[in-house]
């Protein structure tokens, strides 16, 4: 659905996006994580054909960005929720949606139907005749998302949709994104909210001008330190340690009656480890699998790239 290859954008001497290569599949929610100035917004603007690329290739659906003809086709396929909601505050909620429906060349009947559908879905129908300027931040953000959806786009680009929102409003917006995910919309989500990315996204890319890593949240967590199995025993003795050495466990650390070992696939490796301990006469009290967090992965990658 979205494909880039060595996509690069420079502003004078400054490289905002450097050789970005990634692929987002249809129906996938892809999170783009990165600090401020990492190039997230520039990437979205290039993919939405708002600014040109310096080099490389990017395709949205079957259309490659870069020509005016394809730009119009791509813009029909996508919806954009920019980091600033950008609503016409002197127009009502209904008028805001209706205007955008017009810009997407929807018929009167189509606009009427989609305006009503989204305003009801977002709980704004009762406020349809209120000026957008009178709305709370959360309501404005929901309206901005609805505006990006009035033409039923195949791909939705969202740039920091919960930034500057209070926790309740952010929760409402996240729930709406999850609802869109259930509807199998392809969503490209720019965020620096790790918790949000972890909860919503199927895959995450970490960008700091260059793409540092890409994978599912779990893959990214594992990619940093892997996973560890922590076994609490009634007592640790030499036969138990020797039996584990024979299993060739990695990075075994003993702390009192607690043993920690690195594992790649705990579901396969842990039964063997526990069996070896029991066979050596050990008494297992608890077995816990731990992994580094997405935050650890993110911070490590961003610091390495700085």
């Amino acid at each position: 659905m979205i494909e880039t290859e060595n996509l690069t954008r420079k502003f004078g001497d400054l490289t905002a996006v450097d050789n970005l290569t990634l692929r987002v599949d249809k129906g996938e929610v892809f999170g783009f994580l990165g600090p401020n100035g990492a190039g997230k917004t520039t990437t979205v603007r290039m993919l939405c054909c708002l600014i040109s690329k310096t080099s490389g290739m990017a395709k949205i659906g079957d259309y490659e960005i870069g020509s005016q003809e394809n730009a119009l086709k791509i813009r029909k396929m996508i919806g954009l929720v920019p980091d600033n909601v950008g609503l016409y505050e002197s127009l009502t909620a209904y008028e805001n949606l209706d205007y955008y429906g017009t810009l997407y060349r929807r018929t009167d009947a189509q606009r009427k139907e989609s305006n009503e559908y989204f305003l009801k879905l977002l709980g704004l129908w009762e406020k349809k005749d209120s000026l957008a300027g009178s709305f709370s931040k959360g309501m404005k953000q929901k309206l901005a998302i609805a505006r990006a959806l009035v033409h039923d786009p195949e791909i939705l680009f969202m740039d920091e949709p919960t930034a500057n929102l209070d926790p309740e409003s952010a929760k409402t917006v996240r729930e709406f994104i999850l609802e869109l995910k259930n509807q199998k919309k392809t969503i490209f989500l720019n965020t620096h909210n790790l918790d949000e990315a972890q909860r919503i996204c199927d895959r995450i890319g970490i960008l700091n001008t260059r793409l540092m890593a890409v994978g599912t949240p779990e893959e990214l967590e594992r990619s940093i330190h892997g996973r560890k199995t922590v076994i609490r025993l009634r007592q640790v003795n030499e036969p138990i340690l020797n039996s584990l050495k024979r299993l060739q466990v990695k990075n075994m650390v003993r702390e009192g009656n607690k043993l920690t070992v690195d594992v790649v696939n705990p579901e396969e490796e842990n039964p063997d480890i526990v069996s070896a301990i029991v066979a050596a006469g050990g008494g297992v009290e608890t077995v816990t699998v731990t992994s580094s967090s997405l935050e650890d992965a993110y911070l490590k990658l961003v610091r390495e790239s700085a």
Binding site: C48, L50, S90, Y100, L103
Partner: protein, 243 residues
Amino acid sequence: MTTWMPWKIARKELKVISRKRSIIFYTVGLPLLIAAVFSIVVKNQIAHGISATISLGSESIIYLFVILATVLPSTIAAYSIVGEKIEKTLEPLLATPTTDGEILLGKSIAAFIPPILSTWIGASIFMAATDYILYNGGLGYYYFPNWNAGVMLFLLAPLAAILSIEVAVIASSRVSDVRGANQIAGLMFIPFVAVFFAGVEGIFTFSIGNLLIFSGIVTIADVVLFFLSKSTFKREEILTKWK
């Protein structure tokens, strides 16, 4: 470019403008005020005779409405573009499948129609009042409408309005507030005012020939500034270079 899309954009602009009282007051009020004030001036002048009243410069007063046509559209155009910058509505708008030309034309139409209509209405009121005063003063025929007024109102005023909009578009890319854009666009008012004073001083006469020459010069300026404003109003420029 589809022909209807600019009009759809213009309709939305007109809706937004219609909710801005200051712009409505300014756009509608100023031509009416000029019409009322100069109708009173003509009424007072009639006591000095018909020829004195006409020589006061009825054409000069019509020309004041041309000057209005250079002032009023820039306010709306500046608001329409800088207002979008301030409210940060440009990015989602530019992400829609509309062309830069459609957006620019839509905004230009919205900035053109209300000022030119109110200019024509103000001028019509002034001409009707002047005709009434002169006819009853013994002129025996209606002085207005005449060809001079026709050229000024239906040729020069629209061309001046277009020029004003184009300057406002260019100015809007350089500033971040409506007042700033309006002030820059207001510089265009100077040559038109200079022509007015040249008329009052007798250096310039508002003859058909002179008015057509002046209109020709304004047309050339319109064409040059059209290309300049078009090159300014591009998505890439707006998102990366506009202040």
